[in-house]
Amino acid sequence: MGNYLLRRLVQVVPTIVGISILVFGLMRFLPGDIVSLMVNPDNPMPEDQRETLRRMFGLNEPIYVQYLRWVGGIARGDFGVSLRMSTPVTSLLFQRLGVTVELALLAVAFSALIAVPLGVLAAVRPNGISALSAQVLGLVGLSFPSFWIATMLLLVSSLYFDWQPELIWISPFDDPIANAQQMFLPVLSLSLALIAVVMRMTRSAMLDTLSQDYIRTARAKGHRERIVIWRHAFKNALIPVMTVIGLQIGGLLGGAVVIEQIFGLPGIGWLILNAIYQRDYPVVQGGVLFVAVGFVLINLLVDLLYSYVNPRIRYS
């Protein structure tokens, strides 16, 4: 296990380096540089002052020096300073992290709770109503954009239930009930796509395992069907389901950007998007890097869990 862990950790390094180069390079495509973005066009700054600012930001140095300086800062936890709020990007990111983590965790938990039993049921009774509804839900969930679902949920709740979401985010540690009320619709709209994917995967993985020889053996031994399904088949079917949940977290983080915006939840996505609207590029740069690296680390974690559950992976 230790060996495998080390190998996977080493594999992650080039990806993270690649991410940092891509994010850094992307920001170089901006028209003008940070100084010209900071300067108010109605009140132009003399060229020598701009030059001083450029030197202050190290923009007169070769590009690889700038990159190394930026990466070096991040390694020490310094993502730079917001142009608009004059706050360190690092503290902005950590302030917002909780909301996004809560949203993502709740969405994963909620989706698994709905999708896994439904997927199992659809595999066990392929001609039943559950199989049909699973198929419909699978297609609808993958096709209906989360931002439209969210809009419709808001519309229905305000028109028919006269319900207005709180405008200020309430931490679950301060008031769990108010927080749950606030998070319910965002989680619901974010979950639909995840439910669809997880359910389809559960169904096909269950069908796969149910056709295995050891299932026939278990049945031949006279186990009750419930034991065969849950203890023999389900446990093995869970492995690919775990992977697919890990892979979907990227989609979840992308979806969270839009959902946080719609519901006014001050998460990382909300931070990045509003930084884009305000052309606050250090925040965009730090936020995108933060999310991408987080996504890589989550997938690493899923891989390690996967190898823990399925020892064959480790030795291949």
């Binding site: 495509f29 209906f144 954009p145 808001l154 389809r200 991408a292 996504f295």
Partner: protein, 298 residues
């Protein structure tokens, strides 16, 4: 893997000669299943909307003929939006935006990603390693976030949205193409082509490409729905197609501020997005079932 000593009569013909036609599309089998028929139907409907928009739309999509925020009635079948524009006409014209985004983004993805995947699987070695590391990096980003970042850096517009979506999708194509290429590279006809000294370009386009067409077509169809969804999301956030062009995402994003007064502004554009994405998803699933029995899901 077959060796030269083996004599397998029926396989000689199949194994040494590459298929003549690029792909035989079994259209009959495609529409014989309900999901395939619905998928084909929706995509055809979109095509008709896009091509014949001026003939079908009762009003101009940009002019403001009516009163604002009217509920659907006999003149304005789907109501009017916050500027008094006919929603139905804007949805019909919106099919043009959606299909154009699909065609251009997917073409970019196919051209860049497909070529990289071919080269990567053909040459292997250093080329393969470099390409696949770049692909790894691209795939490490949540795709919508990368699309948002690229298009906002390039300046929000429909063309930058298409470029951003195409670039991000190309990583998926590079990954999807490489696998089947590796398999086909083991075929005898590829070996034969190499033995007679065929140019690598010839091998890739005459021998490899037709034989990986099935997974490629499936991926292309599914990429269409991904592109339409991504453009709608970008435009919803105001980072894609700019007003007054009738993009469904823009209509939904701008209209939702008024939806409590007139739900039609938010309901119908969203339905249009969902229907278009559903159509391409159904078509892609059906194509996968028909073209690639090994990938068939149960």
């Amino acid at each position: 893997m077959a060796t030269y000593q083996e004599v397998r009569l029926p396989a000689v013909d199949r194994g040494t000669r590459p298929p003549r036609r690029l792909l035989r599309l079994p259209l009959g089998r495609l529409v014989s299943r309900p999901t395939g028929a619905i998928g084909v139907g929706i995509v055809l409907l979109l095509l008709v909307f896009a091509v014949a928009a001026p003939l079908l739309a009762p009003f101009d999509p940009i002019e403001q003929p009516g009163k604002r925020l009217l509920d659907p009635d006999s003149t304005y079948l789907l109501g009017t939006d916050q500027f008094g524009r006919d929603i139905l006409s804007r949805i019909i014209y919106g099919a043009r935006v959606a299909l154009m985004v699909g065609v251009i983004s997917v073409s970019i993805a196919l051209a860049i990603g497909g070529t990289l995947g071919l080269i990567s699987g053909f040459y292997l070695g250093v080329v393969d390693t470099v390409v696949q590391r770049v692909v790894d990096t691209m795939l490490a980003f949540p795709s919508l976030i990368l699309i948002i970042a690229i298009s906002s850096v390039l300046g929000p517009s429909m063309s930058t949205a298409m470029l951003a979506i195409g670039l991000v999708q190309s990583s998926g194509f590079a990954r999807i193409v490489r696998g089947p290429v590796l398999v086909v590279m083991q075929e005898q006809y590829v070996e034969a082509a190499r033995a007679i000294g065929a140019h690598p370009f010839t091998i890739m386009y005459r021998y490899l490409l037709p034989n990986i067409a099935a997974p490629l077509i499936v991926q292309t169809t599914l990429a269409f729905s991904g592109a339409i969804l991504a453009e709608a999301g970008l435009s919803f956030l105001g980072l894609g197609t700019q007003p007054p062009d009738p993009s469904w995402g823009t209509m939904l994003g701008d209209g939702r501020k008024f939806m409590e007064l007139a739900p039609a502004v938010a309901v119908f554009p969203g339905l249009a997005i969902s229907l278009a994405v559903l159509g391409f998803n159904l078509l892609g699933d059906a194509l996968r079932d028909v073209l690639d029995p090994t990938l068939r899901r149960r």
